[in-house]
């Protein structure tokens, strides 16, 4: 469903991705691992449509469509979801209000009826409970004063609520203690489905102890240097990135 071919991306004239190829099929979970500065976040931003990234060459096809030509909200409507590494705070906007606005915007985008307040409440309560999120968190302003764990759990709640076809998790494990990590992993595993693909971007292997990926890719120097099965993640954990980087040099 996602075909990235020879993708070159630069930021303010500085090349970040240099010919990246990646193919993800529906129902699969792929992990992209790499050292700091390898272009991991750029990959998540270019796929979700953030401004400031120039595509110099290559393409990304999503269900055969030119993904890079779509506006961010069009991509979201088409089922692309990004769980942010640093979820933003929006003061004064209740989390519940935000979730409802987003879900109804998405439903409109898909040509479905909007949910009324009662219907929405029922859905969000059920999903929140599954992730151990209390009512009080939903009443607070979006991400304002949330702990790192709460912010990540809120991203997982949105993932569960918006039911994307392609979920990209950008360093969702960073800053989480082991309990929060388990909650996130359970959330992801529960959403594993033949109708959904996931791209898990991470620096460390520890999340992959709980979510077993179908494929693991090593991203460094703006390209995929190696791909393999889930055993590749453990190999990286044991030996670090140095070997692969020197192989490529």
């Amino acid at each position: 469903m996602l075909e990235i071919r020879d993708l070159h991306v630069s930021v303010e004239g500085r090349a970040i991705l240099n010919g990246l190829d990646l193919s993800v099929g529906l129902g699969e979970i792929h992990a992209v691992m790499g050292p700091n500065g390898s272009g991991k976040s750029t990959l998540s931003y270019i796929l979700s449509g953030r401004e400031g990234y120039a595509v110099d060459r290559g393409e990304a096809l999503y269900d055969g469509r030119d993904l890079l030509a779509l506006e961010p909200e069009e991509r979201a409507a088409a089922g692309v979801f990004l769980a942010f590494q640093y979820p933003v705070e929006i003061p004064g906007v209740g989390t519940m209000t935000f979730l409802r606005t987003a879900l109804n915007a998405l439903r409109r985008g898909r040509g479905e009826d909007e949910l009324d307040a009662m219907q929405f409440l029922r859905v969000v309560r059920e999903k929140a409970r599954a992730l151990g999120i209390g009512e009080d968190m939903l009443k607070r302003a979006l991400n304002v004063g949330f702990s790192g764990g709460e912010k990540k759990r809120n991203e997982m709640l949105q993932l569960a609520l918006l039911e994307p076809r392609l979920a990209i998790l950008d360093e969702t494990d960073s800053g989480l203690d082991i309990d929060a990590l388990k909650v996130v992993a359970e959330g992801v595993n529960a959403l594993r489905s033949p109708d959904r693909a996931m791209l898990i971007i991470t620096h460390y292997q520890r999340l992959l102890d709980h979510i077993v990926p179908d494929r693991v890719h090593v991203l460094a120097k703006g390209r995929i240097l190696r791909s393999g099965g889930s055993e590749l993640a453990r190999e990286l954990e044991a030996r670090g990135y140095t070997d692969i980087l020197s192989e490529a040099a």
Binding site: P72, I90, G92, A102
Partner: protein
């Protein structure tokens, strides 16, 4: 310019088409001759069959006005106003004053329907009484009978002059004297209508009161005067709304509002101001020069102003509280949104005289396009204001890079035990926030409305519930035009 800013500018550009209240009602009206002189003042007074004392008061005001000049201290560029090139009285032609809503011209009822203010009582928001002012006169007041049962008087001020002259005479001009300032003095000379509210001792007004002002006729100034008196231990909540047709020429709106709160009384006054703001090039729009002031005369009395200012080409307005009473409380909650070439210089004055009087000011200014938005606030602690307190918080939000926000706090303290706090912030809508929303399928227009509503929340929460939802929508529309 980043893409966001470019798009914002684009949205702003298309806003001119989106003022959905810009239509003109085709109705025959009666007008005074153009221009302003003593004869016009006498004409207005005569047509309203006013008592001698009121005419004398108007004439004194008019003579005083002729010695005055327009204030020029605000951060506003005000074009020359030719006071002789306007009509000072315009009223829809009716045989007699309507006795009931059945007699109101159907064209007028239709106009208010179109504005979303149905005047037929069975269709109205339950619990809201409305006085509808069309150009210079009040055309309808709803729920009068029900209010009378509680002893609450709610009627056009011209009617109050006839029916309750002693009450009007006792309080008119006591809070805003006719010598007060250029525009208030002009208003005193030529005010045409407005609302009068009297809540007797111990009565909690059973419903929200609301006045809806509509300017329709061309070249006509609107000079309404509102007077609200709350006797001991009474409570009233009042809301005014306003719109005007889209016209290329500017129109003058110079209102005066006076509030009087006696011992333990509370007045809550809310405004949703949506006068025509002019087009995207700054052509046309209302000049909104308004004097609003409340006197907390009694001990433990409270006056609370809430305003949502989205319209007008120029807004010059400082709803104030004179805190005479011991332990009296003044509040000012404001949202001022300016877009395109709109200018606003608005804020409040909190004058503390009574011991332990308290005031709280929360101002949210939002600027987009090429607009300028200034907060100007005075906090004055007079010698009697022992242990008085003020807290002021002033937040500005900028959208795009051609607008401006300014804060002018004036603090004067003559009592060492008084405490004054002022906090101010300025921020821009953050690209990260916008992208986060868009990634969640919320398009840029809706995202801006969401973020701005969040920014204004503290103030929106102060509005009566019936109007909070409307105001929230208006905030979005003023910046985006996604509706209409």
């Amino acid at each position: 310019m980043s893409r966001v800013a470019a798009e914002t500018v684009e949205q702003v550009r298309s806003l001119g088409d989106r003022y959905k209240y810009g239509f003109v009602t085709d109705i025959e009206s009666e007008q005074a001759p153009k221009g302003l002189n003593e004869d016009i003042v006498r004409f207005i007074s005569a047509i309203k069959e006013e008592p001698e004392w009121l005419l004398a008061w108007r004439l004194e005001a008019f003579r005083h006005w002729q010695t005055m000049t327009e204030p020029d201290w605000a951060k506003l560029g005000i074009p020359m106003i030719d006071y002789q090139d306007a009509y000072y009285y315009s009223a829809p032609k009716q045989k007699e004053g309507p006795k009931s809503l059945d007699e109101v011209d159907p064209e007028l009822l239709a106009t208010y329907d179109k504005l979303g203010i149905p005047l037929r009582e069975q269709e109205m928001l339950a619990g809201v009484a409305v006085d509808a002012v069309f150009d210079s006169v009040s055309v309808a007041t709803t729920f009068k009978a029900k209010l009378e049962e509680h002893g609450v008087i709610f009627c056009p001020i011209s009617e109050a002059v006839q029916k309750y002259p002693e009450l009007v005479r006792k309080y008119l001009g006591t809070v805003v004297p006719y010598t007060d300032n250029f525009f208030a003095t002009l208003n005193s000379a030529v005010f045409t209508d407005g609302s009068f509210v009297f809540v007797p001792k111990g009565v909690r007004c059973p419903m929200e009161l609301s006045t809806y002002f509509r300017i329709n006729a061309a070249n006509t100034g609107q000079f309404e005067r509102t007077l609200i008196v709350a006797e001991d231990s009474s409570y009233v909540s009042y809301l005014e709304g306003c719109t005007a047709p889209m016209r290329d020429e500017h129109q003058l709106h110079a209102a005066v509002v006076e509030l009087v709160a006696l011992d333990d009384a509370e007045i809550k006054y809310s405004t949703v101001q949506n006068w025509y703001p002019g087009d995207e090039n700054g052509i046309g729009g209302i000049f909104n020069f308004v004097t609003k002031r409340g006197a907390c005369i009694g001990a433990r009395s409270k006056i609370s102003w809430t305003q949502v200012e989205t319209g007008s080409a120029i807004t010059w307005k400082y709803p104030s509280c004179m805190l005479h009473g011991a332990d009296s409380v003044g509040e000012f909650y404001s949202i001022a949104i300016t877009n395109n070439y709109q200018q606003a210089d608005t804020g409040t004055k909190m004058v503390h005289m009574g011991p332990r009087s308290r005031s709280r000011v929360i101002s949210k200014g939002i600027s987009a396009g090429r607009a300028s938005n200034a907060y100007r606030g005075l906090v004055k602690m007079l010698p009697g204001a022992a242990s008085a307190r003020n807290y002021t918080q002033c937040d500005s939000l900028l959208i795009g890079s051609h607008c401006g926000a300014h804060t002018f706090p004036y603090i004067e303290s003559q009592n060492r035990s008084a405490r004054v706090e002022h906090e101010a912030t300025t921020s821009k809508i953050d690209e990260d926030q916008l992208f986060y929303c868009r990634q969640r399928c919320i398009d840029e227009e809706e995202a801006v409305a969401l973020i701005v509503n969040g920014f204004c929340r503290e103030v929106l929460q102060q509005l009566p519930m019936e109007f909070a939802v409307e105001a929230q929508k208006l905030v979005g529309i003023s910046l985006e035009g996604s509706v209409g």
